[in-house]
Subunit: 430 residues, 2 copies
């Protein structure tokens, strides 16, 4: 029996508490699976006095997590504080500089500084693990780095934010509008007090930037991710989508194209018969397309104490077993610099909802704007009539260029008979 793997945990919130709880509950199982114990030797959190209902006996307490990362007698530092800058970054840097492995659940940190940290870690002969940073308990990082390592990956995409998926599912099921469902999600603890990171798509973009790097073996490039959140998705759009045979999901999509890497986060119409349409509530799902394996789907809960602790401990088990895999599947120094493919270059089908005056000639003007950009219509829906005020008209198009669509939308939005900015949602064939 080898000596225990000694670890220090920074952050004792939901995930930190869950991790301690798991390590205690399954101490015997983990020892059996690793061939050695995993022992928490030190912890750090903001307030020592807070009652966390955790047994911290035998663990050295540090008020300063950055100091702990340097000084604790641990082989691994587990960073569960979060945030792309400040203390979380310092903890990881200190750990690596002093020859300790790092396990983190911090997607913002990885998306912004993953490459720099990976280079340092590999130079110092330590590992940087982050299974918990993407899609909670789903072992997608391991799936990409190891399980699908024999494939050239062409596309990776998925539902990466449980809050948004809960809101969109609930809106569809109840017919309620965004603001109301968001408020309910807050009360249920499914949305943060400040939910903007989730609902504006930033959280999904962080996770997508990480997946992109692992899947394609290229630098993380968060700034190149096109991001649109779900604030503008209305009950009306969800209902029209359903009528057309679609559901609306917030997807993160990364694709290798002839122009480079396309990374985009935005609401999508997905076919009602596709498996991703049936990933509901707080569930996450990640789809990977490989040239030999075909399409593989990974699905499960993307957040919460249990699933996240499961991912953190999987990383610890890997370290305890001595597994060594390059941070982003290939050595950091050899990650490719693939140019980003700009959104203008994107091609796809589109859903448009216009609020128009119920008078002759409006549709003709709209159709002309699309025709002049070479955009062909697939379907049109119009319900009811209004003596005064606006009526919704919904159009879907065949595949066209994003740039052409942008120009057409500008012209349509300027029509006097079109009352609100046109609402555009991309259609993903999947």
């Amino acid at each position: 029996m080898s000596k225990p793997l000694s670890i220090a945990i920074a952050g004792l919130g939901t995930v930190g508490g869950g991790t301690l709880h798991l390590l205690e509950r399954h101490a015997g199982l983990i020892e059996l699976r690793c061939g050695r114990k995993v022992k928490v030797v030190a912890v750090s959190a903001r307030d020592r006095k807070r009652d966390r209902k955790l047994d911290l006996s035998g663990m050295t307490w540090f008020d300063d997590a950055a100091k702990m990362a340097k000084e604790a007698e641990a082989e691994v530092i587990v960073e569960l504080i979060g945030g792309s800058e400040g203390i979380a970054k310092t903890i990881c840097e200190n750990a690596i500089a002093t020859g300790k492995h790092v396990v983190t659940a911090n997607k913002a940190l990885l998306a912004h500084h993953g490459l720099a940290l990976a280079i340092k870690a590999e130079a110092n002969g330590v590992s940087l693990h982050f299974e918990a940073a993407v899609a909670g308990g789903i072992p997608i990082i391991k799936g990409l780095r190891e399980g699908l390592a024999g494939n050239g990956i062409s596309r990776v995409y998925g539902i990466l934010n449980g809050t948004c998926n809960y809101i969109l599912t609930n809106m569809r099921e109840t017919g309620k509008d965004f603001a109301e469902v968001l408020e309910e999600a807050r009360k249920l603890g499914y949305a943060e007090a400040d939910p903007s990171f989730d609902i504006d798509g930033i959280d999904t973009a962080h996770k997508l930037a990480i997946l992109t790097s692992v899947a394609f073996g290229c630098d993380t490039n968060f700034d190149a991710v096109y991001v649109e959140g779900i604030r503008h998705v209305s009950a009306l759009d969800i209902s029209f989508a359903e009528e057309l045979g679609y559901r609306i999901k917030l997807l993160g999509i990364a694709r290798l194209t002839e122009h480079g890497v396309e990374q985009r986060v935005h609401p999508c119409l997905v076919p009602g018969r596709s498996s991703i349409a049936h990933v509901e509530d707080v569930q996450n799902a990640v789809m990977v397309e490989g040239d030999f394996v075909g399409k593989i789907v990974f699905q499960g809960r993307g957040a919460g104490a249990g699933p996240t602790a499961s991912a953190v401990v999987a990383d610890l088990v890997d370290i305890a077993r001595g597994t060594k895999v390059p941070t982003f599947a290939v050595p950091a120094a050899r990650l490719a610099k693939i140019p980003p493919s700009p959104m203008d270059r994107h091609r796809g089908a589109y859903y448009l909802r216009l609020m128009v005056a119920d008078q002759p000639g409006v549709i003709a003007d709209v159709a002309a704007a699309l025709r002049d950009e070479g955009i062909s219509l697939e379907s049109m829906l119009q319900h009811g009539r209004a003596a005064a005020g606006a009526v919704p008209v919904v159009l879907t198009t065949h595949e066209t260029a994003e740039a052409a669509m942008s120009r057409a939308l500008k012209r349509i939005g300027a029509l006097t008979a079109v009352f609100e900015p046109p609402r555009m949602i991309r259609v993903e064939p999947l």
Copy 2:
């Protein structure tokens, strides 16, 4: 750069050819991901003269694969011949005895001799890898052994045989009967000339026995698997199931119960809204329930040259990277001996279809037989009337004991107004 990982491949059929093809196509990518080349130094197959459209230059040919396993100058033997006994077993034993790692896609071998091989491999300090043996390209063995290693697993189940799933999907979509769809599947290459291993559930049972061992850390016990195939599933049952809101799938299910490990393979009615109901055609899916992670779904293609080669190469990448994980997630010598929970102990809901004489009193007799065993009905369906001959009556029950159901079925089958043996299919809540 380390020296190349040298491998020898036994068997150059679909999977062997696919593996060679992958290793050649992605030689650069694999070198980048492993930090070293993966080099095929020797091959063996039945007929040297057959034109396989493979470039075997630089590889030593062995007519005798068992000899190759002993004598080839390789660190890894890849066994892609198949079969639980004979040459495949000898190859693996020879490889282990001479200090070589083994990668195999052979589920029959693992299900019958996995424990014995694992003990030998671990004693000799070599690894036994078998990702390709279960669910083709889906990285489910890695998922269980590593990705979910922080969890106590309570249940693992799934659609593990693409042939059966294709047949059941096709029967539902076309209304055709079993024999006709099987014949078509044969012509399309989705079913073997002798399809009994697939359609009688043996193949699923092999895979389930392996999953059980890896999930629960216990000995493989193929003989304890209860097995029922899909020969008796009729178009009529599929249509009645659909009317009741269910689809019929052949599932392999392993569960830890108070009585031990329950392992069973049989057709199931699954709710039409469940995600497993939408796993169609040749797709496979594996669901895992862990105490921290919750339910995780892995889905993808379960067979074919590409997906299987993807899994074989993932194992080779692990070996090339130096990863060492116990064969069945815990050291073979420490695998638990959990008693099998017999099928009699199973509890569940049931679907029954009876072909009965259309005359008064029949339903009363059937209902009495169920009542006397304490079985309560959930629903009853009867369509049409027949002046003479049999009419189908379909019943579904609430949860009850398998033993009680067996007794009731015996009594029902003996009624003179019941014309054929009653058809029983278990309902899985999932």
